[in-house]
């Protein structure tokens, strides 16, 4: 079990990867990826039982993760590579022609660690429910994790899935909502007010936890807490209050960096704030 400061070092390297990946192709979505970095690092390096060196689609007896807000692909690819699913040098192919690292995650090119395509929003929770139910049928004790954006809550399918998971007691499922308060056109409060996500998810019948999303100690504790709450008849939701663009001072807390890559100068300024702890790809 890595110490918290080890996880924080990995997170700094993942952020460097994200920035260098989107800079290299001058396209991609750095803001959300930077905001969810602690979550993904905690999940892959601490929380999940998984086999990076022996990837199978079914993932029998493993914990599974489905990324519903697929535009966070840069952070996910970095975490997958850094945890051993594929060589970190492959990160340099992100969004380029003939790459396994498509702009949004896809299975068609056979990249280890990815079990479903995502990008068109609102679908990942339903897929996660199916995978969780499949595990129950198989007598498999693994858990299913998923991450959704808060802007993604605008999609109607999320609420179909929310109703199903609670109503049918899919209690081997932990769904995290990345509540950074920002979406493409601006703050979520302005684009489509979400009201109280906690009240909404509780009203739908979920066991709801709220936690800050950019403090590694708290994220690890929160995910462990969520794991303990599984198997008790309710699916578990984590409302994770994160900051879009976290870790780079001029990118933090604004929707501006949702889908905009840094230029050369901005990249240099950003990398200066992040330790190259594991070595760049």
């Amino acid at each position: 079990m890595p110490a918290i400061h080890e996880l924080e070092k990995i997170a700094a390297q993942v952020r460097r990867d994200v920035l260098r990946m989107v800079h290299a192709v001058q396209s991609g979505h750095p803001g959300g990826a930077l905001g969810a970095t602690e979550f993904m690092v905690a999940l892959y390096f601490e929380i999940m039982n998984h086999r990076p060196d022996n990837f199978t689609m079914e993932g029998s007896d493993e914990d599974l993760f489905f990324l519903s807000n697929g535009h966070l692909s840069a952070a996910w690819y970095s975490v997958l590579a850094r945890s051993g699913y594929f060589n970190i040098q492959e990160l340099s192919t992100f969004r380029k022609l003939n790459s396994r690292l498509q702009g949004h995650p896809a299975t068609a090119e056979g990249i280890p660690g990815v079990r479903i395509a995502s990008g068109s929003l609102g679908q990942g929770l339903s897929v996660s429910i199916g995978a969780a139910v499949s595990k129950k049928l198989n007598g498999d004790k693994g858990l299913v994790f998923t991450l959704m954006g808060d802007g993604e809550m605008d999609e109607g399918q999320i609420w179909e899935a929310s109703m199903y998971a609670a109503g049918k007691k899919v209690d081997n499922l932990i769904a995290t909502i990345d509540n950074n308060g920002q979406q493409i056109d601006g703050p979520t409060d302005k684009v489509m007010p979400l009201g109280s996500l906690k009240n909404k998810w509780e009203a739908f019948g979920w066991d709801v936890i709220e936690m800050p999303g950019n403090d590694m100690t708290i994220v690890v504790e929160g995910l462990n807490n969520a794991r303990q709450r599984c198997g008790k008849g309710k699916p578990v939701a984590i409302i994770m209050h994160s900051e879009m663009g976290h870790g780079v001072d001029f990118m933090a807390g604004t929707h501006h960096w949702h889908g905009v890559p840094p230029d050369n100068d901005q990249l240099a300024r950003a990398l200066a704030q992040l330790e190259e702890s594991l070595g760049d790809y």
């Binding site: 079914e58 029998s60 990942g124 897929v127 199916g130 995978a131 969780a132 399918q157």
Partner: protein, 318 residues
Amino acid sequence: MTEYTFTEQKDTRSGFGQGLLELGRANPKVVALCADLTGSLKMEAFEKEFPERFFQTGIAEANMIGIAAGLATGGHIPFTGTFANFSTGRVYDQIRQSVAYSEKNVKICASHAGLTLGEDGATHQILEDIGMMKMLPHMVVINPCDYNQTRAATMAVADYDGPVYLRFGRPKVPVFTPASQEFIIGQALLLNEGSDVSIFATGHLVWEAIQAGILLEKKGISAEIINIHTIKPLDAAAVLKSVAKTGCVVTAEEHMMNGGLGDSIAQLLALSLPAPVEMVAVNDKFGESGTPAQLMEKYGLNAASIVEKAISVIQRKK
């Protein structure tokens, strides 16, 4: 003209229900999902016998398709059931991303396709579903013609690893294919050898094509009749072999002309063996309320239309 007879009329959806039940008994990996239309889809027997493998999603088709994709990821073989309209147009993006692009082993089973849904009207009578589904890479599209063939197709698709769209209907139609006939995905079935015109029919129009063959024979016209139960992948070899002999084509389907079987065959012939084609299909119109028989008559989806088009297309041969 080869003789085809029947002793009973049954709905193709009941063939699906029976096939699904038998699959449930044969393969523990088979699971079924339904969006509040269990009775209409004839899935009650499966639900009763295998309650732990049956998932009622309520009126939430998008969620149903996503759950099916997740079940397939875990190694199960999910069969989703709802009306054809709600199986395709309503959930196109979910099928596109979570099933077809992700190459999930999901069987999308769609009843009440086409005009023969009847009195409920155009909101429910989808005539574009074959087109939408065949445009998706990785998707197999199957439209069987009677109870026995639908039962056999249901069982056959479980053995195929990949996404399938299986389309069937509501009305009772003659059961004329042998119960023992093997269903081979992508293999056209020659129903009658002929030399003057090739009639390629799918679904409910196959029986009408046989009736048209009898009428044409009385007029001295020899029609080759082929049942295309699999629209994608199309049995190109069978189509080309027949057209090389007859030199002209009539296609027949309970679907829009745009995107249907006729469109697939016309594309194949334009690229490989240009020949005159006439299509029995709905031409850029929505349906309406009426009895199935009234609608098929009004929209020209019957044996009389096939005969008329056959006579017309033969005259276009050089």
